[in-house]
Symmetry: C2
Subunit: 146 residues, 2 copies
């Protein structure tokens, strides 16, 4: 169905010193094909639904390896489980607005905010590696319903 895509993902994995297993390829392909923020269980169920032979343990282990290689980003919305999204690269960093009513996630990127973050780090002689900025509240749709 997508031999070319498979080859590309295989190469991506190898470039990151990860063996190109069918499970990892399927997982990356799944995340590539969606804009949603799946949790591990959802990813597992989606792969099962697609007739992919995979176990929960492998989903968790693969995600861990992919996150370590920055091929996938781990998101913590504070509700007790981690979400994951395909990360295209450092340059595509973004933060999130999270609707507490419907769970919708709006992504945003604000250069000035990022600059302020760097300024704070400098003030404190702190070397940043990553950051999370999540704003919780009510989205426009849910607001109008009220």
């Amino acid at each position: 169905m997508s031999a070319a895509e498979n080859q590309k993902l295989k190469q991506v994995l190898r470039e990151h010193e990860l063996k190109a297993t069918t499970q990892r390829i399927a997982l990356l392909k799944l995340l590539d094909a969606t804009n949603e923020h799946f949790d591990a269980e959802e990813i597992y169920l989606e792969l099962i639904k697609k007739q992919k032979n995979v176990s929960r343990a492998t989903v968790y282990r693969s995600l861990e390896a992919l996150v370590e290689q920055s091929l996938v980003a781990r998101l913590d919305f504070g509700d007790g489980r981690m979400r994951f999204e395909r990360s295209k690269g450092e340059d595509e960093h973004h933060d999130h607005l999270i609707c507490e009513d419907c769970g919708k996630v709006i992504e945003f990127f604000n250069p000035e905010m990022e600059a302020q973050q760097l300024a704070v780090c400098e003030e404190n002689d702190f070397t940043p590696s990553t950051h999370t900025m999540h704003i919780f509240g009510t989205c426009s749709d849910c607001k109008s319903v009220k």
Copy 2:
């Protein structure tokens, strides 16, 4: 040892429509007396160490009630457990720099960053309630050791 302090906390609890139980008073007193960011288990162990009769379940339930009343703030550093700190009030909001080496937490408050956050919310017709801004990295102490 601190009858006056107990009375004050008792009053604070009642003002927030919470029954002033010995467990809740002890918990608040503990958080008042530290600048650390304890997790539920640490709070439980500290109270036990202080000869306070309390159960884990009560720690969790009390924290939930106190967070709901904004007497305590719940912090999520993304390591699988929630931390808690006494919140003196809305005006004392702050964000965190978290050292990935030693676990130290540096608090900061940057008005311009807060302003940017509000701007992003407006752009997206989003009504914010709370937010978390955590910057992970290496603190000056750990940097110099390397």
